[in-house]
């Protein structure tokens, strides 16, 4: 049966099912193929904090959303156009997001009394008018999978498990994607059990063929490739990008990487990734806790390595004291913090941007250090390199502030040519005659990085206040004053060595939307939309301490400053304190990223209260 083909610009699909339904895998496979087809993509995995939440329960729903497009996109999409619901609980949690008229693919088999009850449905939504506003495809996915696999030689239970491949095959058909990449992947993944491998391939094909043949499905869709910057691309999560960025920084500095860490969601994947790359000379240490990880990182830095530690909120809190030691000893290192919902244990698997003020002030006394934050999953690579560049140049700890959304989300990453990246210059003094542990570079104010093993440079450092230049312990009041100011000034001077802030839109106007971190996509898309009607620009700050030098200047060119953040106004607070501008906070604290629409609506509302109807262009 030949079916119609409709050309679309972009589509958002959400795969939703029970934790056991393999939705993350399904989503990932769809993403891969779509990426290779050349669409621009962004993805958002969303899974429960329990390892295996009760089967069929609302808490056990695992979802994976992908936005793919023929144009440049920046977020995984506000609301799905297509929802694949593998059970009632998935339908219940996701239906509210599906756009009106959207496609709803349902695994009918899972809608039995037991599952309906677990999802809290009093009546079967398939049997009343609840779904009338959508284009519903009710498919007995489990049954069809099992019947397709009846001769595959695997058990009934294993057949059941293949149902997600059926769903994936159907989606491949629906959006005109080839199956070969996934087929290859399946054969490799299940190479130990050929039967399973072939059964999964069969299920995939069955789903595809179902689309081709079933009467109910009338048409499918095509999404042309996007016009991305030329180059070689791969899909990457923020954590992978960060890990590769740190690896790259070490390479650029021609110095081995040390990673000391204690596992914690959503940062653990950096540890997992880096511990694979031992043949790069990466030394990974799974420490007994975050304090130990921080201490070991300080030690590794003292010994001359590119020293890195990584954690999330609760771990950052624990590192506070030792970070003070890092500041006092003025050693270079990077502290990666992948933010999650808090306070305390909070919402450990959800995203938030609420550790900014802690990054700035979360240590006793005056304890300044540099802070950078990537804007997108792919940008995690670059900011990881930047973090080390600053650390080494200024002999300072640098906090790299990522978040759960960036860390787990994926987007295409244009693979850089390693030779095109600027080297990170590492200098270790060797001349005893001229060596003073706390001598200062005139420009950067950084002290020399003398490492143990160097003859004649034996010296002692530590947490007590240091005599400037000499580096011995000093209780001298005037020296303390000097050192407090030097430490602060050193961080300020970094501003001379980072890019100026760029503005998205006109460099002056009525409204400036200011963001940082993982909200980049949503804010920029929202502002792009608003710019059609209003005088709105935006900036996205990736260097948070110090701020880019031209930031104050930019802020002064707008009448209203709005700061959308996944916290209660932390960047707004910093801007207000530093520039005395009335930065208006537009907060969201729901453990979820911003939707583009939320930002558009939010900004419009603020503009209204400010009399902004006259701000139309």
């Amino acid at each position: 049966m030949k079916k119609d083909i409709e050309e679309l610009q972009d589509v958002v699909i959400r795969f939703a099912g029970d934790s056991g339904d393999g939705m993350q895998l399904t989503g990932t496979q769809f993403t891969k193929t779509t990426a290779v087809l050349g669409n621009d993509i962004a993805t958002l995995p969303d899974y429960p904090s329990e390892i295996r939440a009760p089967q069929g329960s609302l808490a056990g729903v695992s979802a994976f959303q992908i936005n793919f497009s023929s144009r440049d996109i920046r977020t995984p999409g506000d609301d799905p156009n297509v929802l694949v619901a593998m059970n009632p609980a998935a339908l219940k949690t996701s239906l509210k997001d599906l756009v009106e008229g959207g496609i709803l693919v349902i695994n009918e088999d899972a809608f039995n009394a037991q599952n309906l009850a677990k999802a809290g449905y009093a009546t079967n939504p398939l049997e009343d008018s609840a779904l009338s506003r959508y284009l519903v495809y009710r498919i007995p996915i489990t049954t069809m999978t099992v019947s397709a696999l009846k001769d595959s030689g695997i058990s009934k239970k294993e057949m059941d498990r293949s149902r997600n491949f059926f769903a994936l095959g159907l989606m491949f058909w629906l959006f005109q994607r080839p199956m070969d990449i996934t087929v290859e992947w399946i054969r490799k993944k299940f190479s130990k059990d050929k039967n399973i491998a072939e059964a999964n391939v069969l299920a995939l094909t069955a789903g595809y063929n179902y689309g081709e043949n079933a009467e109910v499905i009338k048409k499918h869709y095509r999404i042309a490739p996007a016009k991305n910057v030329p180059g070689t691309y791969r899909n990457i999560t923020g954590n992978e990008a960060a890990a590769l960025g740190f690896l790259t920084a070490a390479k650029l500095a021609n110095t081995p990487l040390f990673y000391g860490s204690y596992p914690i969601t959503p940062a653990s994947d950096i540890l997992h990734e880096l511990s694979k790359h031992k043949n790069f000379g990466v030394l990974t240490l799974q420490a007994e806790d975050e304090i130990a990880a921080m201490g070991a990182t300080i030690g590794a830095s003292f010994a001359g390595l590119m020293a890195l530690t990584g954690t999330s909120g609760p771990g950052l809190s624990l590192k506070s004291e030792a970070m003070g030691l890092a500041v006092m000893t003025e050693l270079p290192m990077v502290i990666a913090n992948v933010q999650r919902g808090g306070p305390s244990t909070g919402l450990p698997t959800k995203t938030e941007q609420s550790d900014l003020l802690q990054a700035m002030y979360g240590r006793h006394s005056e304890c300044p250090l540099a802070v950078v934050a990537p804007a997108t999953s792919a940008d995690c690579f670059q900011m990881a390199v930047e973090a080390f560049r600053i650390a080494v140049k200024f002999m300072t700890p640098v906090i790299y502030l990522s978040d759960g959304y960036l860390a787990n989300g994926t987007e295409p990453w244009r693979i850089p040519e390693i030779d095109s990246l600027p080297k990170i210059e590492v200098k270790h003094p060797t001349d005893p005659a001229s060596f003073k542990p706390y001598a200062r570079d005139e420009k950067t104010l950084s002290r020399p990085w003398a490492i143990p093993g160097t003859p004649g440079l034996e010296h002692r450092i530590g947490g007590l206040e240091k005599l400037n230049i000499q580096g011995t312990v000093s209780h001298d009041p005037a020296n303390h004053d000097v050192m407090m100011h030097l430490r602060a000034e050193k961080i300020e001077r970094i501003a001379d060595h980072i890019p100026l802030q760029e503005v998205f839109g006109k460099p002056e106007g009525k409204v400036l939307v200011v963001g940082w971190g993982g909200t980049y996509g949503a804010i920029t898309s929202a502002v792009e939309e608003l710019q059609k009607e209003y005088s709105v620009s935006s900036i996205h700050i990736r260097y948070l301490n110090p701020f880019p030098k031209n930031l104050g200047e930019i802020l002064s060119k707008f009448e209203t400053i709005i700061v959308p953040e996944l916290n209660l106004g932390q960047l707004a607070h910093l801007l207000r304190a530093k520039y005395l501008v009335e930065a208006i906070s537009f907060p969201k604290v729901q453990g979820q990223p911003f939707k583009i629409r939320e930002i558009i609506d939010g900004i419009k509302k603020i503009m209204e209260t400010k009399g902004g109807s006259s701000w139309k262009i």
């Binding site: 990426a35 290779v36 087809l37 050349g38 990449i181 991305n228 910057v229 030329p230 180059g231 070689t232 691309y233 791969r234 590769l244 690896l247 790259t248 040390f258 000391g260 790359h277 031992k278 043949n279 790069f280 000379g281 030394l283 990974t284 240490l285 420490a287 007994e288 806790d289 304090i291 921080m294 201490g295 070991a296 990182t297 300080i298 030690g299 590794a300 003292f302 010994a303 001359g304 020293a307 004291e321 030792a322 003070g324 030691l325 693979i415 040519e417 390693i418 005893p432 003073k436 143990p452 093993g453 160097t454 003859p455 004649g456 034996e458 010296h459 002692r460 530590g462 947490g463 011995t472």
Partner: protein, 339 residues
């Protein structure tokens, strides 16, 4: 900073830094410092290869006084910084200097894991059974009922035996010595220095200001022979003024016996620090009054160290996979070209 004299043979003096030593007159720390410097000098390793790492406490000021690389870290965290240094550069000789509060109170967890993981660190625990630097509160090794500033009614905490703790953690070198006995201390430190792996040395040290005479019985001429059991490799456990007392095993329980017609030296437990397993070390570590207090090397055992193993894995990975190629890693998984 420091002189560049890198003479082939070094003496204690080479390890004396320019910093004025600032412990109280009479403090036991002085003699420990001297022996540590001597031990380092005797090792035949150039000065720049040493790193002395400490936490916070009177004892933890030691790095300033040793003319090597040094790191006076924060309270309880010396093992973590030392671990980072040693893992980063196994070629360095890393010493940890700590107090009973630093290592066993706030730093207990790091001490535990450094011991368990057999990280090649030489740990000197200055045990004065008190918090010296903060002016006299009881510590995890203070005796039950001890009256201090923070326990005017007597401490309600049972003391920890540092060496039982070390045995429980699976340490590969366990020893005890006395700050007041430089010769013994020098020998024990020398052995610790030679050990490849974590070496845990408890040094009984007198704090003249806040806990004077805590070890009076063990150090005073008259009482010492009765109260100290000096361990000698291959020799039976004998003590007492006339060396007429010994330790015999009754099942798993040690007992004090008088040597004489009924009891011969051959009936006694014979000291062997190299016994397989930690049962013997634990037994010694648990000995407390009325038993004499053992000093010497309780246990030693050769096992790959954490730092060795980490670097071995790197070498192995390089051998198996070749030196890492970034571009290859970048391009792993599905890639596509946009023209």
């Amino acid at each position: 900073m420091e002189d560049l004299k890198n003479l082939p043979t070094l003496t204690r003096k080479d390890f004396v830094s320019s910093q004025e030593v600032r412990w109280c007159p009479g403090c036991g720390d002085y003699s420990i410092l001297a022996q540590a410097q001597k031990t380092m000098a005797d090792m035949g390793i150039p000065r720049e290869k040493f790193v002395v790492v400490s936490g916070i406490g009177c004892s933890s000021r030691m790095p300033y006084y040793v003319n090597t690389y040094g790191f006076h870290t924060i309270h309880g965290r010396a093992p973590t910084v030392a671990t980072g240094i040693k893992v980063a550069n196994p070629d360095l000789n890393v010493w940890v200097v700590t107090g009973d509060g630093d290592s066993l109170s706030i730093g207990g967890n790091h001490t535990l894991h450094a011991l368990r993981k057999n990280i090649d660190l030489k740990i000197l625990l200055f045990n004065n059974q008190i918090y010296g630097l903060t002016k006299g509160q009881y510590s995890p090794t203070s005796e039950l009922g001890k009256k201090t500033k923070s326990s005017p009614y007597g401490s309600v905490d049972y003391p920890l035996s540092p060496l039982s703790f070390a045995a429980g953690a699976g340490a590969t070198f366990i020893a005890r010595t006395l700050a007041s006995d430089p010769v013994h201390m020098g020998e024990v430190m020398g052995q610790a220095a030679k050990h490849r792996g974590v070496a845990f040395v408890e040094i009984l040290q007198n704090c003249v200001i806040f806990n004077d005479n805590a070890y009076g019985e063990l150090t005073e001429k008259e009482t010492r022979p009765e109260r100290i059991l000096q361990l000698e490799q291959g020799k039976p456990l004998v003590f007492g003024k006339d060396r007429k007392k010994g330790i015999r095993l009754n099942g798993l329980t040690p007992e004090i016996v008088e040597l004489g017609d009924d009891v011969k030296e051959s009936d006694l437990l014979v000291h062997d620090a190299g016994r397989a397993g930690l049962n013997y070390a634990f037994l010694l570590a648990e000995m407390e009054s009325p038993f004499p207090i053992p000093i010497g090397i309780f246990h030693r055992e050769d096992r790959p160290t954490l730092d060795q193993m980490i670097h071995a894995q790197v070498a192995q990975a390089r051998k198996a996979l070749g030196e890492g190629d970034l571009m290859k890693v970048f391009r792993s998984g599905e890639v596509w070209e946009v023209a």
